[in-house]
């Protein structure tokens, strides 16, 4: 039997920070108050949200039990996948063992959850066993519905000119290889798509377009490549100023924009894509629910076009077992597809013992790692309030952030929230969110991954 290491990387960091700064701080700044409890808190999902919550609750709860349900052994730094798919990073840079971040004392169940019985406070696991909870944090992330595009599956990524940054780290690597092959061919048409649903990292389809344009321009044969962007709605990005900026920049860089089209089918062998016209009278926007019935309508106008490279962005939703549970939104724009939470308190709208965090929640924006950073302290405070019989008082502003890569080597630090039509919420007075900047690129390239890992540790 393998002996556990005396000191893990996590312990070393704690020792280091303790030695460096602990003696400088008054006691009140080094630890938040703890709560004595016998409650069983179950966290569904071990991505950024789940592990961040496990880290925070481990420090705040005494006597209770924390269970985290997550089958994956490897933690993926998904914000780095656009860098991999753009040929800037190696895939290995984005992966670490989940065990590096799992807090001591957390009961890690390495299985898939398959059902939630919210009325009886019970989780069903793939093995057939069940877990009962007193409080539940749903942090299951997002489901990629490639199957809603006829003829498309994640296995096709890297073949027949198909790329997709979202599917997996392997998919991101194969997307980079596919773009390289297209560039090497010296000509042809590239189509970049967007999804008619909320998506994680809503800037990623735009970033992939911009970084590919950088590579095309660098090849000094730009004029031999046609680039089109197919958007299901009028907008390309939810933040209005950035939306206008991207549209203008696309026009300047020779990207042909077509609005109100969604990718409905793909024929990999023929390298043809079918797009359904969905607007403007039946416009899909990021606020509309995804409905399979609407995807199967027969009376939609369609166009079929050839491509040499296509970047596929799949429709997304909460996982099926969440959609099939009572926890899913029953009405409103997220009906049937996303977790039903108060977007400010993060508490479930009908089950007060349930909280949601991260990509799974029904919210107009907020499917980024930066959102998790902002949401985690709110969920922590409000869960502890509810455990003590109080109402949740902490509120999430909707803060989210997107280092909008506008070319390889430059980016804009776009930070915004719910208020005032997604007004900017800049963190740094010396970085203008409207400026393309090398420093912002350096942050994306060097600093945001360390900051992400600090979020996992509940330190940021």
């Amino acid at each position: 039997m393998q002996k556990p290491p005396l000191l893990s990387r996590r312990d070393l960091l704690k020792v280091g920070s303790g030695m460096g700064f602990g003696c400088l701080l008054p006691a009140g700044m080094t630890s938040a108050s703890t709560l004595q409890t016998q409650a069983h808190v179950v966290i569904l999902g071990g991505g950024a949200s789940g592990i961040a919550m496990a880290s925070r609750l481990t420090r705040r709860l005494r006597g209770g039990k924390i269970t985290l349900v997550e089958p994956r052994e490897t933690h993926h730094y998904q914000p780095g996948w656009t860098m991999v798919a753009s040929g800037v990073w190696n895939a290995g840079k984005t992966m670490r063992p989940n065990a590096d971040f799992m807090p001591r004392g957390v009961n890690w169940v390495r299985e898939n959850a398959v059902s939630v019985d919210a009325d009886n406070k019970r989780i069903g696991l793939a093995s057939g066993s069940t877990i009962e909870y007193d409080f539940l944090i749903v942090a299951t992330g997002i489901q990629l519905n490639y199957g809603l595009i006829d003829g498309m599956s994640p296995e096709l990524i890297g073949q027949h000119g198909i790329g997709s940054v979202y599917a997996s780290i392997e998919g991101a690597s194969r997307t980079n290889q596919t773009i390289e092959s297209w560039l090497a061919s010296g000509q042809g048409k590239g189509i970049f798509t967007a999804a008619p649903t909320p998506v994680k990292c809503a800037g990623a389809p735009l970033k992939m377009t911009f970084t590919t344009l950088s590579r095309l321009e660098e090849s000094s044969r730009r004029e031999r490549f046609a680039v089109e962007y197919m958007a299901p709605g009028t907008d390309l990005f939810s933040q209005p100023w950035v939306d206008e900026f991207v549209k203008q920049r696309f026009d300047e860089q020779g990207v042909k924009r077509r609005h109100h089209y969604r990718l409905s089918a793909i024929d990999p062998q023929a390298k043809q894509a079918e797009f359904a016209f969905v607007g403007p009278e039946s416009e899909f926007t990021s606020h509309h629910e995804l409905r399979e019935a609407e995807f199967k309508r027969d009376n939609l106008q369609t166009v079929i076009t050839d491509y040499d490279f296509i970047h596929v962005v799949p429709p997304m939703s909460a996982h099926d077992f969440i959609k099939n549970s009572a926890l899913v939104a029953q009405d409103g724009p997220f009906r049937g597809e996303w977790l039903d939470v108060d977007i400010h308190t993060m508490q479930h709208n009908r089950y007060p013992d349930v909280f949601g965090i991260g990509d799974v929640i029904g919210a107009p924006i907020n499917k980024t790692a930066a959102s998790v950073k902002a949401q985690a302290p709110v969920v922590e405070e409000n869960l502890l309030s509810v455990m003590q019989g109080n109402l949740p008082s902490a509120r999430h502003t909707g803060y989210t952030s997107c280092p909008m890569i506008t070319g390889i080597g430059k980016a804009m630090l776009v930070e915004f929230g719910y208020a005032d039509d997604f007004a900017f919420m800049p963190s740094f007075p010396f970085i203008d969110p409207k400026d393309e900047s090398w420093v912002t690129w350096v942050m994306k390239d060097r600093m945001l991954q360390p900051a992400y890992y600090a979020v996992l540790e509940g330190q940021a």
């Binding site: 700064f21 090398w438 420093v439 600090a454 330190q459 940021a460």
Partner: protein
């Protein structure tokens, strides 16, 4: 953001460069120790060549620091970009001088002796 959080981020950011920091520290400490044992005093020794070379290395950072970050000088655009790059140039000048200054003393000893 807590101080502990800032420290955690710095630890993760510096982790890939641990080997470089260790090797660099060994080189700097060894050079200073060796020179000190042979009479080197940082305030007494003057070396125009070490200073000029350190300035040149610092200025050369304009070209290769953006490259190290997968970017180019053309993308250094905002005022804060230039402030950050200038800070990098100054830091590289100081590091170069910290290495070259005792090294120039040791070389001058070799020449004399």
């Amino acid at each position: 953001m807590t101080i502990s959080g800032i420290f955690t981020i710095l630890m993760y950011a510096l982790a890939p460069f641990t080997w470089l920091l260790v090797v660099g520290s060994i080189v700097v400490i060894s050079l200073h120790l060796l020179a000190y044992l042979r009479g080197y005093q940082i305030t007494q020794h003057r070396s125009r060549y070490a200073t000029i070379l350190a300035i040149l290395i610092g200025l050369s950072a304009v070209a290769w620091v953006p490259w190290l970050t997968h970017s180019t000088l053309a993308n250094v655009a905002t005022l804060f970009d230039w402030v950050a790059l200038t800070a990098g140039i100054v830091a590289i000048f100081i590091i170069s001088l910290v290495i070259l200054h005792p090294l120039s003393y040791l070389i001058s000893l070799l020449r004399e002796g």
